[in-house]
Structures are given as structure tokens and as C-alpha cells.
């Protein structure tokens, strides 16, 4: 069995099935190159793990925030960097030569990233604004077309809202932040996303509740995650309670993992369109295991979560 097990392990993973390093990591190397030796990185570069609970980010709203309040002061290394896509091996040649004395690419990315936590860097380009400005920008755009700028483009989900606050559901999009080429001062930002079918009124998170009843002989943690948060209360054998969790979009549902001691996953399930129910945790076929099932019934008033010393863990 040992040989089989080792063979199964070796054959279980194919290196080619995994993607190459994302552009952000190559941008990190560029940033290191332009940083004085001995200094450490500052700024909101951390990528994606945020302690719950959280709320979704509306890209255009944040882009507006940048425009309204973000006026970064600049004191960084300067270079005559050419414009290029981050991560590509060779720079593209700008349509007009870049003047000397501009801020470097890494500094531009750093400044543009101040209010862009969680966004993925796509490209940073320098050149005349007329060559880099967003397509379709009209008379309201007062940046002279011959002004040299940095255009730093990010990808993320965009929630498009009109001035009355009527929003479309989030969809993949991009935001380009324009900075003055010499000082890094914020000039403008523009967001793009594929057109959506029908605007929908903005809706606040709803609270979804369901009951849990631990009928097993195993102390368990019931870890529940939604599109905006997670909770992980513990249930000793015989205990019951009502779990409540906010949902930005009720159609996203919740996912549930039942953990035993030492972070051991005992059971899991997804509930994409949750209706009120009671989650039953019952003894499994083997000692120390459990099964989960639901019954379409829940208490009319919330049952307080039980008191115990169980602590969840993750991974």
C-alpha cells in the first residue's frame, strides 16, 4: 500500500495545471529595483486576505474618493522610465519621448495603489495624456492632452452607480488612475466595465438566519461563510442555537463547514438559495465523525448561541 500511496501522491498534481506568477509579483521586483537599499516597503500592497467581516468595495465610489481626497505628496526616486505593461518582458515604445525628471514606475504604482487595496495591477504606462486618456472622454475632461502623466491600470470588480445611487450588480472591470508624471499628484481616474442589462436599486445586506442542533456526541465548530463575512460558533453535544450572518446578495447563499478538534473537517455543504432551515449534526458511521442534514423548519424566534469554550480554526 505504501508504494501505491506514494505513486498516487506523485501523480496527483501536475505542475502545468497551475497558472504563472501574477503580474503583481513582477511589479514587486520592479519596485525593489527602484527602492534604495535598506528601506522597506510601505503602503497598501497586501493582496487579498482580509479578516472578516468585510464589505464589498465599489470601485467607482473609491475612484471618486481618490479624486476627492487623495493628493499625495511626492518625494521619490526619479527616473526616465519608459512606459510598459507590468509583467511584460519588453517595454513598449511611447509615442513621444519621455522627459527626464519624472517619478519612477514603482513610485507611480505605489501612489496609485493608496486607495486600491485588493485591486490587481494590470499595467503602468507613462506618456502624454492624449495618448493614454480613456476612450470617450469628453469636454468635461480638463487635462491638457500634451501633459505627461502616469496611467496605472487595475482590475477588480466594478459596481457601477449613477448619480442617483442606482447601481448595477458587481462585474469585472478596470480602473485607471492618472497621476502627474513629474510629481505623482492625482489628476483623474476612470473606471470601465462591460455594460450590464438592467440597473437595480441598491440594496443593503440582508441577515440570513438558520438553526443548528448538535445531536451528535462530538463537539463541533460550525463555520459559516457568506459573500460578506463569516462566523464560527461552537456547539457541544446537545447544544443548539441560531446562527445569523449578513448576505450582500441572497442568491450567493452560504457555505458551511463543520469542524471537529484539531481543525479536522468533518462535513461541509453549500446552500446557494437559503431558506430558513435547521442544520442537524448527527453521529457519523465511525466514531468521532458526523453527518449533516437539514430540515425545512426553524424556530420563529432566534435561539441564543450556546456558551462553551470551543474555538474554531481555519485553513
Amino acid at each position: 500500500m505504501s508504494d501505491d500511496l506514494e505513486r498516487w501522491l506523485r501523480d496527483g498534481v501536475r505542475p502545468t495545471e497551475f497558472p504563472p506568477a501574477p503580474p503583481g509579483l513582477r511589479a514587486r521586483l520592479v519596485e525593489l529595483e527602484q527602492r534604495p537599499i535598506g528601506t522597506r516597503r510601505r503602503g497598501p500592497w497586501k493582496h487579498s486576505l482580509i479578516l472578516v467581516p468585510v464589505t464589498a468595495v465599489a470601485i467607482l465610489a473609491v475612484a471618486t474618493l481618490i479624486g476627492g481626497g487623495q493628493k499625495p505628496s511626492v518625494s521619490g526616486p526619479t527616473s526616465g522610465s519608459s512606459a510598459h505593461d507590468v509583467g511584460s518582458p519588453s517595454p513598449t515604445i511611447p509615442s513621444s519621448p519621455l522627459p527626464t525628471g519624472g517619478i519612477g514606475e514603482s513610485r507611480a504604482i505605489e501612489l496609485a495603489s493608496v486607495n486600491s487595496i485588493g485591486w490587481t495591477l494590470i499595467a503602468a504606462s507613462a506618456g502624454r495624456y492624449g495618448d493614454l486618456k480613456p476612450p470617450g472622454s469628453g469636454p468635461g475632461d480638463d487635462i491638457p492632452p500634451d501633459r505627461f502623466v502616469w496611467a496605472v491600470k487595475f482590475a477588480s470588480e466594478a459596481t457601477i452607480c449613477n448619480p442617483l445611487g442606482v447601481c448595477m450588480s458587481p462585474r469585472p472591470g478596470t480602473v485607471t488612475v492618472y497621476l502627474d508624471y513629474f510629481t505623482g499628484t492625482f489628476l483623474s481616474s476612470a473606471g470601465f466595465s462591460a455594460a450590464g442589462p438592467t440597473p437595480s436599486a441598491p440594496s443593503p445586506p440582508v441577515t440570513f438566519s438558520f438553526d443548528v442542533e448538535n445531536r451528535s456526541h462530538v463537539p463541533v465548530i460550525v463555520s459559516v461563510a457568506s459573500d460578506t463575512g463569516a462566523v464560527l460558533p461552537g456547539f457541544e453535544p446537545g447544544q443548539r442555537g441560531t446562527i445569523s450572518i449578513p448576505l450582500l446578495n441572497p442568491r450567493n447563499g452560504v457555505s458551511i463547514e463543520v469542524e471537529g478538534g484539531e481543525c479536522r473537517l468533518l462535513a461541509s455543504g453549500n446552500f446557494p438559495t437559503p431558506e430558513p432551515f435547521t442544520l442537524l449534526v448527527e453521529d457519523g458511521p465511525e466514531s468521532g465523525t458526523v453527518t449533516i442534514s437539514t430540515i425545512a423548519d426553524a424556530s420563529s424566534t432566534p435561539i441564543p448561541l450556546p456558551s462553551n469554550s470551543l474555538v474554531g480554526c481555519g485553513g
Binding site: M1, S2, L5, E6, W8, L9, R10, G12, V13, P15, E17, F18, P19, P20, A21, P22, G24, L25, R26, R28, L29, L32, E33, P36, I37, G38, T39, R40, R41, W45, K46, H47, S48, L49, I50, L51, V52, V54, A56, G118, E157, P170, R171, P172, S223, A225, S226, D227, A230, L232, N252, C263, R264, L265, E286, T289, G312, C313, G314, G315
Partner: protein
């Protein structure tokens, strides 16, 4: 004594670091993804490892094994992250907010079959040994070098990990 950062231009060692690290990025990202089981967290871990490597690039002598050196830094970063998981639960937002249909291949790996799921459940040290030896195709000696352990420790941890997985097979918890 206060540490006063130098403002010197990149040294030869730092320039060498950038060139070699650039060639290793894909491999490092995959290793971190396999160790941590999450693409976004792997990106953060590799970023941290690059930062640490950059800070100590002068310690790598010419002719040294750059790959092993940077692997060791990355493995330490991942080990710290795996151990922290027992205290704090993090939720990868991308996993819940991604409506574009893209799947994190590292998360998918852990959910693909009982065997890979069992590896994901191993304690951090045992998981790292299994990933480095079986999935990253390192010899026992190379695995020991990355983990800064004696080869005997690698063997014992590997045996313990295999035993734990095998025990699950015997008890019927895992079906291949």
C-alpha cells in the same frame, strides 16, 4: 543602536537577485500555492519572500544555490502562515466574490479528491514535507535543505504523514 537605512544604489548582489528571482517567480508561486492551498495567499507569501530575499541579498555568495536559498526563505514565510492559521481564521475574499467563473486552482486542488484533501489537512510541518517531496519533486536531501532540518527528521515527518493518510484509508475515511 539605531538602524540607519543605506541609500546606496543596488549592489551587484541585489542586481543578481533581481535577475535570478525573475526567472524563479512562476516556480515560487506554484510552490507557495501548493503549500498554502490558495492563489491569493501564495501571491502575498511570494511577495514577502522577495522582500526578505532583497533585504538579505548580500548574504548570498556568488556560486551559491540561489534556488535553494530563496526556497528556504519562501518555505519559512509559508510555515509562519500555516502556523498562524491555527489562531486566526482568514477568509479569502476572492473565493467568495469572484463572479467571473474563475476558480483558484490551489483551492480546487484541495477539494479535488480525498487524497489531496487529506494532504491539505495534515499539520503544517507534515504538509510541507509531502508537498516539497512529492509535488515539488525534491529529493529528501533537498527537502531537508529547504526546511533546514536533518534528513532523518524529514524521513520521520514524511513517514508520519504517510501513516496519517494511510490510517485514513484503513478507517475508510478516504476513498481513492
Amino acid at each position: 543602536m539605531r538602524h540607519v537605512p543605506s541609500t546606496a544604489a543596488p549592489s551587484e548582489a541585489h542586481r543578481r537577485f533581481l535577475v535570478l528571482a525573475s526567472e524563479e517567480l512562476d516556480r515560487l508561486y506554484r510552490l507557495a500555492g501548493l503549500l498554502l492551498g490558495s492563489g491569493p495567499e501564495a501571491q502575498d507569501a511570494v511577495g514577502d519572500a522577495l522582500e526578505r530575499g532583497w533585504q538579505s541579498a548580500d548574504s548570498l555568495r556568488n556560486g551559491g544555490d540561489f534556488q535553494a536559498w530563496l526556497d528556504r526563505i519562501l518555505v519559512n514565510v509559508c510555515r509562519d502562515r500555516l502556523r498562524r492559521r491555527s489562531h486566526i481564521r482568514f477568509i479569502a475574499l476572492a473565493a467568495y466574490h469572484d463572479r467571473s467563473g474563475q476558480v483558484d486552482p490551489y483551492q480546487a486542488l484541495a477539494e479535488r479528491d480525498a487524497l489531496t484533501e487529506a494532504v491539505a489537512r495534515l499539520p503544517p510541518d507534515e504538509r510541507m514535507v509531502v508537498v516539497l517531496h512529492f509535488w515539488h519533486d525534491l529529493t529528501l536531501a533537498a527537502t531537508a535543505e529547504r526546511l533546514n532540518w536533518p534528513v532523518g527528521t524529514v524521513k520521520s515527518r514524511l513517514n508520519r504523514a504517510l501513516g496519517r493518510i494511510r490510517e485514513g484509508l484503513v478507517q475508510g475515511e478516504l476513498r481513492l
